[in-house]
């Protein structure tokens, strides 16, 4: 069972009945929405998917970050969120590093773009990222663009269909971070950027995949 409608902060949703809540709050047994978003009610959970807002780090998310600062034994990474993430030395490299002799900027320097995984978020939102992941890597060259974090799902498409389409048509290398940053490299990157920005702008329209497909072929 899935009912989808727009709810506002403070909208009454229904009785809780022991269900899991996402972006909702309760008063007794009554459930209200916390944010402006799309309502998804099922037998297991009541969830509101926000339509706007800042990216809040969640463990397991794969994000694109930009190295911001170098510490004695790690790096501060800007992950397009109110919170900076820390990349400790142990989570970044496999090899032994003698900190007395080596300057950490030879591994990651300020301004470098990395694709990493969020490994830890504390209650006070102290965020740690890790490079110990199959897909984590340093991204050389290319351009990074920023979109609304809540439209990332649309850019990826169902089962990755949309992003595969753009990758195939433009022959670009593309990494999409869940924080709304997208890294693109390749000869046709202008085309890919245009397609992604169109998706962001027209995320609500029907038949977007065909439109993007036509757009990429036409040029």
């Amino acid at each position: 069972m899935a009912i989808r409608e727009i709810v506002l902060p403070g909208s009454y949703i229904g009785e809780r009945k022991g269900r899991k809540l996402i972006n909702c709050y309760t008063e007794g047994e009554k459930v209200y929405s916390k944010v402006l978003g799309i309502l998804k009610v099922s037998e297991e959970e009541i969830a509101v998917i926000p339509l706007a807002g800042k990216y809040v780090p969640k463990v397991g998310d794969r994000v694109i970050g930009v190295i911001d600062e170098i510490e004695v034994s790690g790096w501060w990474v800007d992950i397009n969120s109110p919170y900076k993430a820390f990349l400790p030395l142990g989570e970044a490299l496999e090899e032994f590093v003698d900190l007395r002799k080596v300057d950490l900027s030879r591994f990651y320097d300020i301004g470098d773009v990395i694709f990493c995984r969020i490994s830890k978020v504390t209650k006070n939102k102290i965020v740690q990222v890790s490079m110990k992941d199959m897909i984590a890597r340093k991204l050389f060259g290319g351009v990074t663009i920023k979109i609304t974090p809540f439209k990332v799902a649309r850019v990826i498409g169902k089962g990755g269909s949309m992003i595969e389409l753009i990758k195939n048509k433009t022959k670009c290398e593309i990494y999409v971070g869940q924080n709304g940053l997208i890294w693109i490299k390749g000869h046709n990157k202008e085309k890919a950027i245009k397609a992604i920005l169109t998706i962001e702008r027209e995320a609500h329209t029907v038949g977007l995949t065909e439109k993007i497909s036509k757009m990429l072929e036409g040029e």
């Binding site: 403070g10 402006l36 339509l51 209650k123 939102k125 609500h204």
Partner: protein
């Protein structure tokens, strides 16, 4: 306040702008006027017009201002130099510092601040045109801007002003009424919960009158609340078709 008006404020049960005592002015609300901001709104109550931009939650510096377990709200209320007949000095004065403080408190009561520790939510309230009840107009706009910025809240905040001219209790005071009425009261509340987040009074009222005015304010806040909800739903209706 208390001064004698040049012309009578109420004639035959009608106010100077032709409204009935219980009637609100024309209300217009728009969302997303400022593209750079995370959320923004422009609200018009008759000739009073407020433009509000919300930025955040974003990291707060200098670091000693950060609260380790909650976010803070910074509200800045100001009136444009051209908003009133005589030029208003744009520097913050006693009045705008006070209104910044009370609107901040009125808004932060509704926000789930504990979800964003160590951050700040900036609310910039700018009055473009002033014709009475500017602080409630700013709160109404700020509430819309916060909701459209995706900030988690208990409820939208609706605000309205009430007052007294002679023996008549009125709602939504305009500039003239604000200046010459015996008393006026600004109220902000979470309408669906019935909780009051701002209550200020100027002048003299009896206990019965205060209770009567509170009832009137609640009624009108609910009307404003409906307009706020409709504005938000209209703006984001397109998104509904997406899924």
């Amino acid at each position: 306040m208390g001064k004698k008006p040049e012309i009578p404020l109420i004639v035959d049960g009608k106010r100077i702008d032709g409204r009935l005592p219980d009637q609100l002015r024309n209300i217009e609300m728009k969302i997303g006027e400022i593209e750079n901001a995370d959320g923004s709104a422009r609200v018009k109550f008759g000739n009073t017009e407020a433009l509000v931009a919300v930025y955040g939650p974003r990291s707060l510096f200098p670091k000693f201002l950060q609260e380790t377990d909650t976010a803070i709200v910074r509200a800045i209320y100001n009136m444009a130099p051209f908003s009133v007949d005589e030029r208003k000095n744009p520097a913050p004065d006693r009045r705008s510092i006070e209104i910044s403080k009370v609107t901040k408190e009125a808004l932060s009561g509704a926000i789930f601040l504990e979800e964003f520790p160590r951050t700040v939510i900036d609310v910039y309230e700018y009055i473009i045109q002033a014709d009475g009840s500017t602080r409630v107009t700013a709160i109404n706009a700020a509430s819309l801007a916060l909701a459209s910025a995706g900030i988690p809240m208990k409820d939208l905040i609706a605000a309205c002003s009430v007052g007294k001219i002679g023996d008549t209790l009125i709602v939504d005071l305009n500039g003239k009424e604000d200046n010459y009425s015996e008393s006026d009261m600004a109220i902000a509340m979470l309408p669906s919960k019935g909780l009051i987040t701002l209550l200020q009074m100027d002048g003299r009222l009896s206990k019965e009158e205060v209770l009567e005015l509170l009832k009137k304010a609640e009624e009108n806040c609910k009307k404003i609340y409906e307009i706020q909800k409709k504005t938000l739903l209209d703006k984001f209706k397109v998104a509904e078709e997406e899924v």
